[in-house]
């Protein structure tokens, strides 16, 4: 589809349906980069990801390739991964350390940069004498226009203006990180230095929508739910022991519709959206009891109870993150094309929490989020089918978001769904999309 300059992309979104061009049109995708990914805050990484001076990870903001790194003074920086000389990528690996000097060295002409992007040295300096000052900003690696962090989670914005990070996150977005960190008796988490990356042949929004789509699990994941329930019984029969908790995580995917219907989804400003939890993560097993004890020692019983009763299974920080705080899972969404999305998949340890709490997180990371996932294998298959279907020119132009439209409760700018299976999360995200994408926005 070709849009002329006066076409208002906001009109692609109606109250109860959206046009397929939102997902399948490259021109719309390019506009999304400009209006959403280069204007809002995008998650870059966690402070504990670069524990030592010289450490770096590379990632994406839209199509821009970025570096997260730490300098000698302990400060963390977000830089564009581009040599100011001839434009080569400076860091060609996903992660590493810049070496003893804590300096990036361009592989092409050996320009060297400090971890804050400033020019450190270059060969044959005399060729620049009287021509350009080596301290000139155009000879430095460019920094992200803005950088900010919340409870150790680092974001960048490629827009020098706009709301600050905390205001942009709001209560909805902040809950993703508060609910992870509060579960630690030290109030902090630490990233596990392993990033699984999986490419999806689908639009970035399809992934986010699916995370809070409570209708699909018992259909899409029926096979895995059944297999896990069968193995729970077989495990106990053969060993006489309780099956590992991971089996329950998988069995839960095939919960009946009524259970999903009883959940709440909550829509916040800027498209951030929550799914109130369904997984029984406060069983009376020794690990949970030990966790309760260390939190009680740190915060008192009342606060411990508040923290562990927080029942948010899933938080979407629009447009870049899917976070599951009670299981310390985080997936960052990197849109590489209208029909191609990279997810960067991480999990966290809670500082000071019992090892068994980490084992739960690790089990979920393995069973649901690893490259051998028994869950996302079916999701990714659906995403691809959706993308291929939406790319057809005939057969219809709209995606239906009618389920429970107009029935959700709105109070103080926060929308609560009438049922867990309402398509409220999609409508909430598209309301933000419309705000970002409309002419004059």
């Amino acid at each position: 589809m070709e849009f002329d300059q006066n076409f208002d992309l906001g009109t692609l979104v109606q109250d109860d349906r959206v046009h397929k061009a939102c997902y399948a049109d490259e021109a719309v995708y390019e506009k999304e980069l400009e209006n959403i990914f280069y204007k809002s805050w995008i998650y870059i990484g966690h402070e504990s990801q670069v524990p030592n001076a010289g450490d770096y990870w590379t990632t994406w903001v839209g199509k821009e390739r970025m570096i997260l790194c730490r300098d000698d003074k302990g400060d963390v920086h977000v830089l564009y991964n581009r040599c100011p000389h001839h434009g080569a990528l400076i860091c060609n690996n996903h992660t590493g350390n810049s070496g003893n000097k804590h300096a990036f060295r361009c592989p092409y002409h050996a320009w060297q940069f400090n971890m804050d992007g400033s020019l450190r040295n270059l060969p044959m300096k005399d060729g620049y004498e009287g021509i350009i000052d080596l301290k000139d900003p155009q000879l430095q690696m460019k920094r992200a226009e803005r950088q900010s962090s919340y409870r150790g989670f680092i974001f960048a914005s490629l827009n020098s203006e706009g709301p600050d990070l905390e205001n942009w996150l709001g209560a909805g977005g902040k809950s993703a990180f508060d609910d992870i960190c509060n579960r630690s008796p030290e109030g902090e988490c630490e990233i596990v230095a392993n990033c699984f990356r999986i490419i999806q042949h689908s639009n970035w929004k399809t992934f986010l929508e699916n995370q809070l789509d409570a209708v699909h699990p018992s259909i899409t994941h029926h096979s895995t739910g059944d297999a896990a329930s069968q193995m729970q019984k077989l495990y106990t029969k053969e060993t006489g022991d309780e099956p590992p908790m991971g089996y329950q995580f998988l069995a839960d995917f095939a919960l009946p519709y009524e259970v999903w219907d009883s959940l709440d989804t909550i829509g916040h400003s800027y498209g951030h959206t929550q799914l109130a939890g369904y997984m029984g993560l406060r069983p009376r097993d020794p690990v949970t009891l030990a966790h309760e004890q260390v939190l009680t020692e740190a915060y008192g019983e009342k606060r411990m109870d508040e923290i562990l009763s927080t029942n948010v299974h899933h938080v979407l920080v629009y447009p870049c993150l899917s976070v599951q705080p009670p299981l310390q899972q985080l997936r960052a969404v990197r849109p590489l094309a209208a029909n191609k999305t990279l997810t960067e998949i991480w999990h966290f340890k809670l500082k000071g929490a019992p090892e068994g709490i980490y084992e739960r997180s690790l089990a979920y990371y393995y069973l649901v989020n690893s490259p051998s996932t028994m869950v996302n294998a079916d999701d990714l298959n659906n995403f691809r089918a959706v993308q291929d279907g939406l790319s057809l020119s005939g057969g219809g132009d709209w995606v239906s978001l009618h389920r429970n439209a107009g029935q959700d409760t709105i109070k103080d700018g926060v929308t609560t769904s009438v049922t867990g299976m309402s398509e409220q999360p999609m409508r909430n995200m598209f309301a933000a999309w419309k705000d970002y994408m409309s002419i004059g926005a």
Binding site: R197, S223, T224, Q230, L234, Y247, Y366, S370, D378
Partner: protein
């Protein structure tokens, strides 16, 4: 001695190990899941580390780390009538080679061997390609072997994965 190779294992042992590895590859390609489970000891594990230098699968992220119960679950999933992502058909072809017996316990015949594999997978009108190294920790029972631990180091271990792996490589 003419019937000994340089590792000190007999030519017959080398041949038996190779036949075992070929048989395992064929079981995967045939999707003969009952036979697959029988390849492993009761507490046997299939392990694909997430990092090339990883020394254990315990307590760390892995690409695969499965005992027979999890393998059984995976089989039940892929064979389930509602396993949508398997509906389009799924076919693989493995080639195993470069079989080296790294060590052999001369008392009981247990041994460790490494080999290299190439595998193509066809699914949804697309073909994918994997390659890597197998390390088998084998227990000898009569004239056959069972797997105590199979370690699989794929060449693209740290790379982005285009789609995921639904069954073992």
């Amino acid at each position: 001695m003419i019937d000994r190779d340089i590792t000190g294992s007999s030519v017959e042992t080398q041949r038996n190990v190779e036949q075992f590895l070929y048989k395992q590859a064929d079981i995967l390609d045939q999707r003969d899941w009952d036979s697959w489970l029988d390849l492993f000891t009761k507490d046997g594990k299939y392990w694909m580390p997430a990092k090339p230098d990883q020394e254990t699968g315990e307590g760390l992220p892995n690409i695969f780390y499965e005992d027979r119960y999890l393998m059984d679950m995976r089989i039940r999933r892929v064979e389930h009538p509602y396993a949508h992502s398997q509906k389009a058909g799924h076919r693989t072809s493995h080639v195993v080679s470069n079989v080296i017996i790294e060590s052999e316990n001369k008392k009981n015949g247990d041994l460790v061997c490494t080999s290299r594999f190439h595998m193509v997978e066809y699914r949804l009108e697309d073909q994918r390609y994997f390659g890597g190294k197998y390390t088998h920790y084998l227990e000898r029972i009569d004239n056959d072997y069972v797997i105590k631990l199979e370690r699989v180091d794929i060449a693209n271990v740290e790379g982005p994965f285009d789609y995921v792996m639904q069954v073992w490589l």
